[in-house]
Assembly symmetry: C2
Homo-oligomer: 295 residues x 2
């Protein structure tokens, strides 16, 4: 059995074919232009692979947002109010379902990454997990009680309010909330605050002290609200390895002993990097495809 | 069929007997002293009712916390690190299960209230709901995807960090986090900040403007993290009716159009008071009992 997977991102589209163990058997990557330019290339990929004998039984799409996940909505399966205007109100699920004639599973990119990690990564078997990515933007996927959280739409965890540190004059860059988490802690915010790209600031301890404070504030809220068994941090900013210990220490300091669990006693195992070599999203898409076929 | 319900609170214990429609057929209230003093009275209530023909088939306990909800834990069913020291490490589930010889359902008081509201209240049928109570303390119950959220323990939503308003010099009163939501917005915090009890401050507009700002900040985080279909606000502070419109307006202002859903377009129906005349907790206990019997 072959499953199709798409990790639909703002800069590139990854298409892949995988098996029921999450193995990626083949993949194709193309830049995200307009639907008219990009989608035909993606469809051709799956159709050509079918001719070669790798016909997919179903497809999973882990997609940048915001998206409509409400199955009773008229616009279920659409990318909705994205600032990428060419993709606004685009029926991505319908396009692939109707052309490839397979069941299509659909979720946010971050829920997809989380699903990959709990299905085939080091968080396998956990039921309550937060996956936060800190890069160009900040976004989070959430699983609660074994279900990916959707609610009225889907989480937008990157935009929660954090407390600006008194010594930080940076006003934030979120067009909606100025100094929310994404406004203060995204890669571009780091670059703007310090006057050069994050990658060139690796040896500046004060950069990462401040950054880890903002991330720890957000993690404190996630912990108090969701009580997750684990938090996975991904994205470009978290490729700065020193960040993990800084964030762990600050989360502990901020919680200040209020919550006592065996999970929090073992911070190394509580706040962890992604474990699937940046394939967590596309592997999550395989699982979305498997679940779509079953339902 | 009769179901037993206990709403175990820090100041009083409410015991009740109900039916499968959530009707409360009988109730008994006693002050919360020590387990040795209080629990025998509660047990006697249920045993006497059994003799009168109202023998319960199962029991639900909606309990002040923190509590252990992990069924694979050795201390499942215990009240754990509560500041009410007489109840610390008390096996409340075991005591009632072993003496009354019935299945016992168990959850937090706030999850119990939420369960009452979604089972028999105006939020019937919703699957993603936050129930926040703002009174002596601040606490929240959460349902996500139809399941009450437990995770590694249970939510402690009252302790998230909010941003102190610049004009508010009050330092907060939470012993763990000083100026977290509970530290800044509980009833006692209002009293301490303004020098008299909240009930005597009803006509002071600035009191409720500030209070609603802190609550709205917290609601913004819950909305961005959980994407709930509705938020129910209960507790003494929310008996100030003018609070609802203030909170609704401030939530809208803070989200600033970032999330667009039909739910948020209808704020009157999105941020609502509890609907069960303060019986939501004890009615939730009935549902916990029904679920315990089924499983």
């Amino acid at each position: 059995m072959y499953y199709g997977s798409i990790e639909a991102g703002g800069t590139k589209m990854i298409c892949a074919i995988g098996d029921e163990n999450g193995n990626i058997l083949d993949r194709f990557t193309t830049p995200t232009k307009t639907p008219g330019e990009t989608v035909p290339l993606m469809l051709s990929y799956f159709m050509n692979k079918a001719k070669e004998g790798m016909k997919i039984s179903s497809l999973g799409i882990a997609c940048f947002g915001p998206i409509d996940l409400n199955k009773s909505s008229d616009t279920y399966g659409y990318i909705t109010t994205t600032p990428k205007t060419a993709w606004m109100n685009y029926d991505i699920v319908g396009e692939f379902r109707d052309t490839l004639e397979v069941p299509v599973g659909f979720d946010t990119d971050v829920n997809g990454s989380l699903l990959g990690e709990v299905t085939w990564g080091s968080s396998k078997g956990l039921t309550d997990v937060v996956y936060l990515t800190i890069g160009t933007g900040v976004g989070g996927g959430i699983m609660s009680g074994g279900n990916l959280v959707h609610g009225m739409m889907h989480p937008e965890t990157g935009h929660i309010l954090i407390r600006p540190v008194a010594s930080d004059p940076y006003p934030g860059r979120c067009p909606f909330h100025n100094n929310c988490l994404e406004g203060m802690a995204s890669g571009p915010a780091i670059g703007e605050r310090w006057g050069k790209p994050a990658a060139e600031l690796m040896d500046k301890q004060e950069v990462w002290e401040l950054e880890s404070d903002y991330i720890a504030q957000a993690l404190m809220s996630y912990i108090l609200i969701l009580s997750p068994q684990r938090i996975i941090l991904g994205g470009g900013v978290m490729h700065q390895e020193q960040m993990f210990d800084l964030v762990r220490a600050k989360v502990k300091e901020k919680l200040n002993g209020y919550i006592q669990t065996s999970e929090l006693d073992n911070m190394e195992d509580y706040i962890v990097p992604a474990s699937l070599n940046d394939d967590q999203g596309i592997m999550g898409g395989i699982k979305l495809a498997m679940d779509a076929l079953e339902s």
